[in-house]
């Protein structure tokens, strides 16, 4: 009998517990007592502190300032940061995926120039994928790059680009050729685009939660050097799988709105009724399961695999759960008459309800993920 999908149970080696304690000490020292000093989730000052502490680019080669630590160690650092609600988003994309793209496909000059700054927490990245007419259907991207005498000329629009206003660079997916009859994925190339290049305009798009993390980025004849093409021209589709596995399986998929669950735990601690404990316990069990699955994918990445299907699976189950969380928390406590003084919990529920719709869209929709899983099951 065959098993379609396997997640090995991971036993974390003891030395990673030391790493975990150090991150907690770091957060206790630098962040938790002065939370008010760090405004927003995108905070350059905090990112610099993370850089100094060696928490960015941990797995990257030492010659560029990395520490050549394991992916599991990086995983531990990330989950501790997210669980504490630390404002990590400035360096998050660079650390999670852009660094490894550059290490794999950028020129030596670019690597020597950029990677040390990324490690220091001073160089931020955004990812240009979606466009007004291509969201889930990435391979329909129209924004183009054409070879010219000075290098490449970029034209078109990227949309829903998180962090584009603050980022120093974008890794953009641009059309360099038409798709072919046999392969509709052909014709797209990844580029490293300095965001201060003339011709780029960035317009914030305010979301329903009142934040403006995502943006519309317009390219009007933006000229970048020829060396900024990353990897195979027209062959970006071959380069995406590992990057997407990093993006999809990380702890943000179950920790992005963790604070609402902690707020519920605080509430039940003050009101230790059996039905509340039972409801809380059920949610904690869910969290525990998804973390273990996510950890298992981190171990696969550590072993050099590209677990596309497994990563899609973790993101699918974890984001659906996470999306339902504020609603479930609300129904657990909503009928309690002494809810009135629980301002923290009410605030968490209200804010997270507003964030919830995006959780099953960003980084690959539920529908796209299920297509990938179905292919893994041999159904398409």
């Amino acid at each position: 009998m065959k098993t379609f999908i396997e997640f090995d149970a991971v036993e974390l080696p003891d030395h990673l517990q030391v790493t975990r304690e150090r991150v907690r000490e770091f957060l206790q020292r630098e962040y938790l007592p002065n939370k008010s000093r760090f405004e927003g989730s995108f905070n350059p000052e905090f990112s610099r502190l993370c850089g100094e502490a060696g928490y960015i680019g941990m797995t990257w080669p030492k010659q560029y300032g990395g520490a050549e630590k394991s992916f599991l160690e990086r995983y531990i650092v990330c989950e501790e940061m997210l669980a504490a609600g630390a404002p990590v988003w400035a360096h998050w994309v660079a650390d999670r995926q852009s660094g490894s793209v550059l290490l794999a496909y950028a020129s030596e000059e670019i690597k020597q120039n950029l990677i040390p700054k990324m490690v220091a927490g001073e160089c931020y990245f955004c990812i240009g994928l979606s466009e007004p007419d291509s969201g889930s259907d990435l391979f329909a991207a129209k924004a183009s790059a054409k070879e010219c005498s000075e290098g490449w000329a970029l034209n078109g629009t990227k949309l829903w680009t998180s962090g584009a206003r603050q980022a120093h660079y974008m890794i953009a997916l641009m059309r360099t050729d038409k798709p072919t009859e046999e392969n509709r994925r052909h014709g797209l190339t990844q580029f490293l685009v300095p965001m201060d290049t003339p011709g780029i305009t960035v317009r914030p798009v305010r979301n329903m939660a009142g934040d403006s993390e995502f943006n519309e980025v317009h390219f009007d004849n933006v000229i970048i050097p020829s060396g900024n093409a990353l990897g195979e021209i027209n062959g970006a589709w071959k380069q995406a799988s590992k990057e997407l596995a990093y993006e999809r399986s990380g702890s943000e998929r179950f920790l992005e709105i963790f604070s609402v669950l902690q707020a519920l735990a605080n509430y039940v601690h003050k009101n230790p009724k059996i039905h509340l404990q039972e409801a809380l316990g059920r949610l904690v069990a869910d969290l525990y399961s998804f973390r273990q699955m996510s950890l298992s994918v981190a171990m696969m990445l550590e072993r050099g695999k590209a677990p596309m299907v497994e990563a899609a699976l973790v993101k699918d189950v974890a984001t659906l759960w996470q999306q339902a969380l504020p609603e479930r928390v609300r129904s657990i406590v909503g009928g309690e008459s002494d809810f009135g003084d629980q301002h923290q919990l009410r605030g968490e529920i209200d804010y997270m309800l507003k964030l919830a719709p995006k959780l099953t869209i960003q980084g690959g929709t539920t529908e796209v993920l299920r297509g990938i899983i179905a292919r893994g099951l041999g159904l398409r």
Partner: protein, 356 residues
């Protein structure tokens, strides 16, 4: 499966045996009261019920991971035999340092608020609570109260046995009553908190069985939708079906992964309890119960009417998941324990509990 130390030779051999002897027909026969003696003899010959028991106590002392693998495979093939239950009994015997006879030995607890004591002539009178398959057990392990605390006793199961019902899977539930049953062996040391020990081990074993049954159901669904044609093509080609099965795969993976984590956690702690072990076990059993229900819902939807019939193979796995999720604490019981674990701490910090 994900217990990386598991020997694939053993997995292959057990799979082959259980695959050969397990069938819907056999399950239906057991429901009518048949005891599959020749199938059980083959399972015993391979040593499966004694996998956890040390050699000096009459077992074959396989690595602890292998016992969980056997439970997983027993679930995967829906084998209507008390293999997993015998494993659980052997885990109790191991901790009680009791040598077991070469026969079916099951553990049975006492009913709530009742205790068993040893008479002056070294015998026990009384009854044990309703337990699956004990009508076929030649011997029973029981908790008894002595002047120096709780012990585990081994007796021959020769008293009155009345089958009082069936599990959701149609397996016999039996109450055993004994009058002056001779105590064949008694643990030397005190065995404190038998209920907690049996719940812990039992919950992980049942989670593994549910994981196995869920894997079987996923495979059955994938095969079925590739063969079944409607509207001129295999239903696997419909996106609605693909999304059903993708969701099903997610539930199955979460059950299997968490069951393995709980198994490793128990093994690492040598089957003793701790907060970290408790949260792993609770998560596994809660996940097995809640996701198990979702596995069943989707599998039946995908199969249509045929999946609802007695003759089709799906129902025996469905009913086994329903049966196993109730035993050794259902998801409500384990959720409550987990919630209490959080709120009984001085500060209700979730994160350290989940990851440490």
């Amino acid at each position: 499966m994900g217990l990386s130390n598991t020997d694939t030779l053993l997995t292959d051999a057990v799979s082959k045996l259980l695959g050969n002897i397990s069938s819907n027909e056999l399950c239906l026969a057991v429901e009518k009261g048949h005891w599959p003696a020749s199938e059980w003899a083959q399972v015993v010959e391979m040593g499966l019920p004694m996998a956890w028991l040390p050699e000096n106590l009459g077992g074959i002392e396989l690595p602890l991971e292998e016992g969980f693998t056997i439970a997983r495979l027993a679930g995967r093939y829906g084998t209507p035999l008390p293999i997993a239950d015998a494993l659980i009994a052997s885990a109790i015997a191991t901790r009680a340092k009791l040598k077991l006879p070469d026969a079916l030995v099951l553990f049975a607890n006492t009913p709530a608020n009742e205790t068993l004591v040893i008479n002056s002539d070294e015998s026990i009178s009384g009854r044990c609570s309703v337990t699956t398959f004990t009508n076929h057990a030649q011997y029973l392990l029981l908790p008894v109260e002595t002047s120096t605390g709780s012990r585990i006793a081994l007796i021959e199961n020769s008293g009155n046995q009345s089958v009082v019902g069936q599990t959701m899977a149609g397996e016999p539930r039996c109450e055993c009553v004994f009058e002056k049953a001779k105590v064949l062996a008694l643990s030397d040391e005190e065995f404190s908190d038998v209920q907690k020990t049996i719940d812990d081990i039992g919950a992980v074993v049942r989670s593994q069985q549910i994981a196995g049954a869920s894997e079987a159901i996923l495979e059955m669904c994938v095969n079925y939708v590739n063969i079944r044609e409607q509207f001129g093509r295999p239903i696997a080609k419909f996106q609605a079906i693909q999304h059903h099965l993708a969701a099903l795969a997610g539930e199955v993976a979460s059950i299997a992964c968490t069951a393995d984590v709980a198994s490793l956690s128990l093994i690492k702690n040598n089957f003793n309890s701790s907060d970290a072990v408790d949260i792993a076990i609770a998560s596994a059993k809660v996940r097995a119960g809640t996701s198990g229900a979702e596995v069943i819902r989707i599998a039946h939807q995908v199969h249509g009417a045929i999946g609802f019939t007695e003759e089709y193979d799906l129902q025996r796995f469905t009913r086994r998941i329903w049966s196993w999720r109730e035993e050794f604490g259902n998801e409500m019981i384990w959720s409550r324990r987990l919630g209490q674990l959080v709120t009984n701490n001085e500060t209700p910090d979730l994160w350290p509990l989940v990851c440490d």
